[in-house]
């Protein structure tokens, strides 16, 4: 199996660093970005299996990134990882809009996140096979 390609977007650098340190040794190809221009560049240059998106960031929102991904017709699965809590309202909205999953920070465990990424990649693979 090819390395799962992950794009992680968050305005918390430490969070991204931690993700990289966890996912990289386990065979994931992870790219990180903190600001909008960087994000767009990466999305344009490379196709990702999974995008981990924060919801509210300076200059750009997770919503917008998801819509952009849709607009460039790449099959990337979008997983929101955010500290934005509003009793599920945003979560429902985003899932309806086609997000693969919505995780609240602090995430319950890195293992669970990894499983989720794997699952998403698997779903994506199955979908492309069809």
């Amino acid at each position: 199996m090819q390395n799962i390609r992950v794009l992680a977007v968050d305005d918390e650098k430490d969070f991204l660093e931690m993700l990289t340190e966890y996912l990289e040794p386990r065979g994931y190809a992870i790219d990180t970005a903190t600001e909008s221009r960087q994000i767009l560049e990466m999305l344009n240059n490379k196709v990702y299996d999974v995008a981990l998106l924060d919801l509210k960031m300076e200059g750009v929102t997770g919503d917008e990134i998801m819509r952009y991904i849709e607009s460039i017709h790449v099959p990337t699965k979008v997983v929101f990882v955010t500290a934005y809590h509003d009793s599920g309202r945003t979560q429902n909205r985003l899932l309806k809009m086609g997000a693969y999953a919505y995780l609240e920070k602090p995430i319950s465990s890195l293992k669970a996140l990894e499983d989720l990424i794997k699952e998403a990649a698997k779903t994506l693979e199955e979908e492309t096979k069809k």
Binding site: P25, A83, H85, D86, P106, L110
Partner: protein, 714 residues
Amino acid sequence: MSHISVYSIPPFVGALLLFFTGLFVLLKDFHSKVNRSLFFLTTSTFVWLCGYAVMYSLTSEKQAFLCAKCVYTGTVFIPVFFHHFTINYLKLKNNSGRIILTYLVGSIFFILLWGTNTYVAGVQKFFWGYHTKVGPAHIPYQIFFTICFARCLYLLWVGYKQAQKKSYVEANRVKYLFWAFFVSTIASLDFLPDYGIPLYPVGFLFMSGWVIITAYAIVRHQLLDIEVVIKRTIVFAGLFLASYAVIATFAYLGAALFENFIQNRWLAMVPSVIIIVLMLRPLETFLRNVTDKFLFQKKYDYRQILRKFSEEVLTFIDINALVERTIETLSNGIKLENASIYLYDAEVSEYKLRSSVGIEAPKLAIKDTESLITFMKKSKKYVLLEKSSNNKPLSNDMDHQLSALRGAFAIPLIYREGMIGFLSLGKKKSDEDFIPEDIDILITLSQTLSIAISNALLFEELSETQAQAAQQEKMAVIGTLSAGINHEICNPLGIVRGQCEMFLLNSDEGIYDSKPPVEIIEKAKNIMKKVIHETDRATVITRKLSSFSKPAKGVIHDYVDLEAQLDKVIELVKHELKLDNIVICKNVTENLPCIAADEKQIQEILFNIIRNGAQAIKENGYINIDIVGDEKYVYVDITDSGEGISKENLQKIFNPFFTTKEPGKGTGLGLFIVKQIVEKNGGRISVRSEKGKGTTFTLRFAATWPEAEEQKTI
């Protein structure tokens, strides 16, 4: 009697003065024994003086002799009535025997007077006219007279000394009485011509002295409990005329003097007239001051107090300021040893001390079941400690309770049939008693004060409700902040948890196996540092939040740094604003003065306005905060790039429960409360807005300069 001799006039005037004084006293209280005996005394002196006034103008010896007997009809009874009056005035007991004795002796002389010629023997002619010639029976009378006068003066002096221990006022009255009679005693010089010594009888002079002293004691010290309210102008006019008469006499005498040098009598009067005219103004000013200062000082002070009350004290809406200023003004104005005010606390059924001056350890509360309270409550009347003496035992519980409060005079504060409190006033510093006039004024004042106090209490209650509403509003507002706050807490938590988990999993799963231990330790240290950093970050925001959510105490500090308060608020809202992509921009001029305010309330004000702005913007926009200061004021402009407010709504923006927000987004109390808080902190708030362009709130607070204050103290 073909003409009236000039020598008749002075005794006649003296006689009239005496008679009318006596009559005045009698009419003031016909039923008083004291007043009646004084009337008899003055009548007998009137007979004496008036008799002589007639006698000096008589030309026939026979008529003069009859007149002399008339004169002595009065004179005989002077010591008798004086004695009687003294006993009555001093309320001396066990003296009825002595009184009867004097009347007996007086009657004997009266019989001798009319029955024989041994007492009044005849008349003799002096330069002023006929005068009595006395016989041998006059000598025992003289002894009787001396004994009576000596005893009376002695009794008055002793009475004065005793009254001093009891009451300053009473002592003062007796003192004046003593001196009045002492002066009148000198009039007994008039007996000398009776024995053939040609000394013009100047007794009228000393009797007028008696009248003046007595009248003064009546006006100033309510002698014989007579309260005289004399119009200032009348007293002034009287004094002016009297003084002017004296000056005019001198001027006339001066004219006579000049007549020696200047032949024309009219020309000789010119210097005198000039003197008189020149004296006019200064005399008037002098007398006006004298009347104001000595006779009408009390009323003058009261006017001051009343003015101060209506203009200053009663305008305070803050209950604490109101009671403090009331007590201060009362104790300074009436010069009281102490004063305190107690207000009812329904929760504990007590009257609690709200303010006091002049008492070191004042009683803090008095139960509403104590007789002093129940009496005032029921009767709605004041309680006056009758004689503010130290020796006299207190007559009842009420007096005991009142003196426990160190008061001499308690006035209930009645509002709508209820007693909301009472004033406890201590003795006057002068030790004078409270006179009916004091009481009248204080009662009237207490009525107005009651209204002012109940208004202030109502306002206080309202403020409390407002404060509660403000607090609720604040908590609701914090709820709307939660997204930002959550973000600020959950992000650090996410990092902390992730970093630790990552390290544990990596090492468990052998990912670090190939790495040298030094590198692993370095990695672990790095993670620890991050954990500490992120924990601190979360702590900061929770601290800010909890400090902000505490209710403000409403305590005004003199030098509050507005910018620092703004920074605190920005710290709190910035995460939320960041999430909504709202840029907050702060411009503060250099050397910004401070303001006098409650820091927390200032934060609430800024917070509310900024949050309102953010809500108006919704997403993507800016909030500009400009703070400028000048000598007098500090201005804060808070401008948002929101949708603006329509003209129609702008007028209603500070009304309670007015809101344009969707249901559930605001109670509408926000700006109403903001305005209340701004005004409570001595500020002003205004708003201008244009639909589609945004809104600017302007706050204005009075500037305070801590440096200037320091320089002053240096």
